[in-house]
Subunit: 274 residues, 2 copies
């Protein structure tokens, strides 16, 4: 889907709207690459914006607490975290899921994930782990392609529209075990619908296996929960516990509706600030 | 401290900067009051902005994924959560603290908190709980006045500048047990510095007690961790576990510097969009 075009009546307001695009691109620049404290020069390199423009944007974002100035540069500010925690798709599902995730952690002492679908990616809402944390590619707020993760395949199995979008795209391999054939992936999604369980067998990271289950409300997966296991460990032994947790979360969600965005979101390109 | 005044050279860019202020006020409006899905009329009421302006701002924020349109109104979008998770003061401390928080949870099965100071408030970075969650006023990303919480007093005891700012303000009571005398609070902070332990004895919520310890780096508390207990339970029994956890988190932070904003942040008024 093409990015949303400005309607003719909005032409007069384009400069204002461009400021929003630039400000969000600037915030996103902090997440694109190493380091969390960035100099003006590095931000100019990442955003392609001239330094005087950046300076004005940073001053406005700093007043709002979305950016902090430190002795060695700029960083994202705590107020941005506060706003992000009010996102209802995150907050409601995480609150319902956490006690069941704690149960899974106490049983396994392995890393426990909660994720939702966004387009054809999964976004990790929560990641619980102890001292024995695996070197897993995920992070809270991070995203991965859905087709190569346990939670992602569990979500696709119960989101046919998203699954069809994945079927229309190439399936880039992340390891030698990633499913790259559309037919194999379709068969896998059918199997997940039959069993209610999804496995990731080193499909995203070598040495990392995982067992996941979808949280299904009215036939539609609103999230998925998983246990990730150490290399060589038998992840299948957690299958029924993960499935039970997903059913418990679904019950706990109860009457709290989780509303999904109506149209597939048209998003401004991250590469090219407009 | 007065809100930052635009420098004379910035006058030409004021319209652009105002768009950022309005956009952030609009995002904040979703967090001010009940409900997470808001109509245009409700947003107009909360922000005081005219509907055509709101419409343009919402369209721009929707393209960026910071706002979603649903069947019954607008809600904050998952991309805002993703950006917020990259805030380094949150991400680094939470990653270091989580395994120790899981230890405290397994020992107590009570609610475990991690918080930082922002001005004279505490902001909760993490809140771990099981099925037996107390009706605690905190939420992840929520804020409370520092003087009436266990984590807040632990943080103030090792942040003399913030403590002095609190001493210059009235101390509004939240329960009959809130410390409202500056002298009593100062004595309490001294006691916390002597013992390394801070208690909240129903000072924020009736029936809720808590034991907290500061995470001290170079004499300065970068965060605090706590266990909150059920009414009537003996919270003192977790004092040494909480203190040990705080020392473990401090060790685990190791060489990861947590940079603090240089000036006390001047923030645009939340009441009055400028």
């Amino acid at each position: 889907m093409a990015p949303q075009q400005p309607r003719s009546g909005e032409r007069a307001s384009r400069p204002g709207i461009e400021v929003i695009n630039r400000a969000v691109d600037l915030l996103a620049a902090f997440t694109q690459g190493p380091g969390s404290v960035l100099t003006l020069a590095e931000l100019a390199r990442r955003t392609g914006l001239p330094k005087p423009t950046l300076h004005r944007l940073l001053a406005a974002l700093e007043v709002q607490g979305l950016v902090d100035r430190t002795a060695s540069g700029y960083q994202l500010g705590i107020r941005l975290f506060e706003l992000g925690e009010h996102v209802p798709r995150k907050h409601k599902l995480r609150e319902a899921a956490l006690p069941f995730m704690q149960d899974l952690f106490e049983a396994s002492h392995d890393t426990v994930h909660l994720a939702v679908l966004d387009g054809t990616d999964v976004v990790y809402l929560e990641r619980i782990h102890g001292h024995r944390a695996l070197n897993v590619a995920s992070r809270v707020g991070g995203r991965l392609p859905a087709h190569c993760t346990g939670v992602g395949k569990a979500l696709l199995a119960y989101n046919p529209e998203a699954a069809l979008r994945v079927m229309a795209m190439p399936l880039p391999p992340r390891t030698a075990y990633t499913i790259t054939s559309h037919q194999v992936l379709a068969e896998e999604l059918q199997r997940i619908r039959q069993t209610g369980i999804s496995y990731d067998r080193e499909e995203n990271s070598l040495g990392i296996t995982c067992v996941a289950a979808p949280i299904v409300v009215d036939g539609h997966a609103v999230g998925a929960v998983s246990v990730t296991s150490a290399p060589g460990s038998d992840v299948e032994r957690y299958a029924s516990a993960v499935r039970t947790a997903a059913l418990g979360i679904r019950r706990s969600l109860g009457r709290t509706p989780i509303l999904h965005p109506t149209p597939p979101r048209a998003r401004a390109s991250k590469k090219e600030p407009t």
